[in-house]
């Protein structure tokens, strides 16, 4: 390791499934057998080295990152590079056209080889893809460390003028909330709309990294508080995050763009972009056009912000904090991982999935002067994390209700074993914010 220099490397890898026809590319129930890969699924890695310390940030076109996948990637990259595993942060973009599963019975009947041998092929394809994700994540991290170059880093904030992510919860006059995606919710007779159930994101937060002596960045990592999913689609795709990365890369030569999801639990991109009502081919065309439009809109907001004069710095040290609960008994406890990596006045914050946007604001309010880059879906075994008021108001995110007693945190899985419930516990989001503020302040 080279002391006294701020070194950064970047790399990318392809995690598209090799046998998409056997897989279902989303966690939600699907209507059609998979057609194939619409645009490649990718992972990207950003490796840092300064003051004799190393760190690595990994982003990827994954609906979620399995805790076991995160554990294996951290362990293998740490062994090969000497990087402290607690400084390896993983983050999924939460595209739904990813993370293949074995198709359900109805879809299996429509697949190329129905029956037991088809089931076996599908199960093998899922296992092969899971292995591929881990292997490619590891190799991408190693390649990023192999590409280290003397660099400087700057924080970027890009205001978003046009509609992109919007609060997807709608408040009704009785005080409850319903979701307003697609054709939307039931709005019962006699009730009227109040307004959105909470705030919407107004900016992209990012870092720009350039080689010393060069004018243009070679890597950017953006974080935006929104789901990027548009509709159910029988194709694998990076969805809007993939489109945004491609749009940014097409405007800045030799750039690798990374995308992380921030505090996005109650934010969506399809409230005002409802899908068409026609058939599959029309839906596919709409999807492609919408992803390109929204990805272009993202780039329109983002690229001018990184082309302005930025306050680049070469931090001589990095500090970190890492907090993990549950992984000592992974079969009976929910795994919750929090991480902070301070690089100059920038703090990369590793978060569990689906925190409501208000918690992002609370974090920033608690840490004035820090540029926070939120990276969620980090391999924690978590679910929606609403605010206390949102939990009272209801909506899809609250559909599972709050957990009230320890015994309610355990549920019976389809295979008959007791597993930890994903029902949001009251106050968990507030505790996460408090913990992270202390972690950043304690290591700053």
């Amino acid at each position: 390791m080279k002391n006294g220099s701020f070194m950064v490397g970047v790399s990318r890898g392809d995690i598209s499934p090799d046998n998409p026809q056997w897989l279902t590319p989303t966690g939600m129930v699907r209507l059609h057998p998979t057609r194939g890969v619409l645009d490649p699924l990718e992972v990207q890695a950003l490796a840092f080295e300064t003051g004799g310390e190393r760190a690595c940030l990994v982003t990827g076109d994954l609906r979620v990152i399995d805790p076991e996948c995160a554990r294996q990637v951290r362990q293998r990259v740490s062994i090969k590079t000497g990087c402290d595993p607690q400084r390896i942060f993983l983050s999924a973009t939460h595209n739904h056209c990813s993370n293949p599963e074995v198709p359900g019975a109805i879809l299996r009947a429509q697949m190329p080889e129905p029956g037991e041998s088809g089931d076996r092929l599908a199960a093998d394809a899922v296992a092969a893809w899971n292995r591929k994700v881990i292997d490619v994540m590891v190799s991408t991290c190693l390649e990023a460390f192999a590409n280290l170059r003397e660099s400087e880093i700057a924080a970027v904030e890009a205001p978003v003028e046009l509609t992109l992510g919007e609060n997807r919860r709608m408040r009704l006059s009785s005080g409850i909330c319903v979701n307003r995606w697609g054709a939307g919710p039931v709005v019962p007779p006699g009730q009227k709309f109040v307004d959105a159930g909470g705030e919407s994101p107004d900016r992209i937060r990012a870092v720009s990294i350039r080689q010393v002596g060069k004018a243009r960045p070679f890597a950017v990592l953006s974080s935006y508080d929104s789901h990027i999913h548009l509709c159910e689609l029988p194709w694998f795709s990076g969805e809007v995050a993939g489109a945004a990365r491609r749009a940014i890369e097409s405007r800045i030569p030799e750039l690798t763009a990374l995308y992380a999801s921030g505090a996005s639990g109650d934010i969506d991109m399809h409230c005002t972009h409802p899908m068409p009502i026609e058939g599959e081919s029309e839906t596919l065309e709409w999807f492609k056009a919408s992803a390109a439009k929204l990805g272009g809109r993202f780039a329109d907001a983002f690229v001018p912000a990184i082309e302005r004069p930025l306050d680049y710095q070469r931090p001589a040290t990095m500090t970190h904090a890492f907090h993990s609960v549950g992984d000592e008994q992974p079969q009976t406890r929910r795994i919750m991982v929090l991480g902070v990596l301070n690089v100059g006045d920038i703090a990369f914050v590793s978060l569990p999935a689906e925190l409501f946007i208000d918690f992002g604001r609370q974090l920033r309010d608690g840490l004035p002067g820090k540029h926070l880059i939120l990276m969620s879906y980090n391999g924690s075994d978590s679910y929606y994390i609403p605010t206390a008021l949102a939990a009272e108001q209801g909506s899809y995110e609250i559909m599972h209700g709050p957990a009230r007693a320890p015994e309610e945190e355990m549920i019976l899985s389809p295979t008959g074993t007791l597993i930890p419930s994903r029902r949001p516990r009251p106050g968990i989001g507030e505790k996460i914010v408090q913990q992270l503020v202390e972690m950043v302040k304690g290591t700053a």
Binding site: I176, A183, G394, S395
Partner: protein, 354 residues
């Protein structure tokens, strides 16, 4: 502004960019009940593909012009919204068209509803449960199809609670709030007992609706005592407003006392939603002694509070100029719409429900 011009302004807003504005316009046209809105609403329903669509259907129910039947029949076959099978939007359009047809005595949408009833589906039992129960009782003007009354009979306490313990109907506050409304309309001792249990729910919106429904079920001394107990133990403004509204509506001897409680919250609370609900409640109570609070709320910084104030404003000629100012210069289109409705209906107080 003349009533016709105000009415036309509302009709024009059916094509606004914002679906919430469009939904408000449709809702107001339903409340105004002018049959010359039917053609515009039919055009709206033909085009609309968003969550605001059902507001147009409800408006046709309220106007109750037979010209709506053909429009609703088309929606049964072709709701013309995305097939969001996982959510409710498409089914809500078909169900509300089916209910609308049943109001006109047309049973062509009944099979769709019966299918959902057999599945004990949240959509019919909870979201549309209150409407079905109310409509099935009929009024002087509405004699719904017999099949709708049969569907209403199947919505019982047992149906509501015949679900697995951790189902979303038993947990999610939105569905529980609707369940509370249904229980109030069922009104039996068993329903009242379930409502009283809801007083300890973690959501203030569930507790508030349970209080209103309990008195709707039976304004008995026992329930009066239950609500008084809730008011003492619950520290949220929302529950205080809704429980006070229910008490003021149910018992003449405490009407003024609880109207004053609501007025105090309207003035004091920092939460804009609670402020809006308090203003709305003063409007429901026709609280002339607190008109000043309503009018003062025209200047509120929160648009929804101003909208509720315009809706709650009594039909007093002395206030016309203030309403006209609101209609012409408020920054929020929904406030301008609410003021337009006031102006459009100013001369028809007996026919229009404010």
């Amino acid at each position: 502004m003349a009533a016709d011009a105000a009415f036309q302004y509302i009709v024009d807003q059916l094509t606004a960019d914002d679906p919430i504005v469009r939904a408000d316009a449709a809702k107001l046209l339903g409340e105004i009940k002018r049959t010359d809105a039917v053609a515009a609403l039919a055009a709206y329903l033909e085009k609309e593909q968003c969550y605001s669509k059902v507001a147009g259907i409800y408006a046709l129910w309220q106007i109750a012009d037979p010209g709506a039947i053909a429009v609703l029949q088309v929606l049964i076959e072709n709701p013309n919204v995305p097939d969001d099978w996982y959510w409710y939007g498409r089914r809500a359009v078909v169900a509300s068209a089916a209910i609308g047809l049943a109001i006109f005595g047309d049973e062509s949408g009944i099979p769709f509803m019966q299918d959902l009833v057999e599945k004990n589906h949240d959509m019919i039992v909870c979201w549309y449960g209150p409407t079905i129960l109310r409509l099935s009782r009929g009024t002087n003007h509405v004699k719904p199809a017999e099949a709708l009354r049969e569907i209403a009979k199947s919505i019982t306490v047992d149906t509501l609670f015949n679900t697995v313990p951790n189902s979303k109907r038993m947990i999610e506050p939105g569905l529980l709030t609707m369940t509370a409304e249904v229980l109030g309309l069922i009104g039996t001792k068993a329903a009242q007992s379930k409502l009283a249990e809801m007083f300890t729910h973690s959501s203030r919106y569930v507790r508030a609706r349970a209080a209103v429904s309990l008195l709707e079920a039976d304004a008995s001394p026992e329930n009066l005592e239950r609500i008084s107990g809730l008011l003492k133990s619950d520290h949220t403004d929302l529950v205080a407003i809704k429980a006070s509204l229910a008490l003021a509506q149910s018992f003449d001897d405490v009407r003024q006392k609880y109207t004053d409680v609501i007025a105090r919250i309207a003035t004091d609370t920092a939460d804009p939603f609670d402020r809006a609900v308090a203003i709305e409640s003063l409007g429901v109570l026709g609280a002339g002694c607190h008109t000043e609070i309503i009018v003062k709320s025209f200047e509120d910084t929160d648009a929804y509070v101003r909208q509720c104030a315009a809706e709650a404003c009594p039909a007093d000629p002395a206030l016309q100029e203030r309403i006209e100012t609101l209609q012409q210069s408020d920054s929020a289109p929904r406030v301008r719409l609410a003021a337009s409705k006031w102006l459009a209906t100013f001369d028809q107080q007996d026919e229009v429900t404010r």
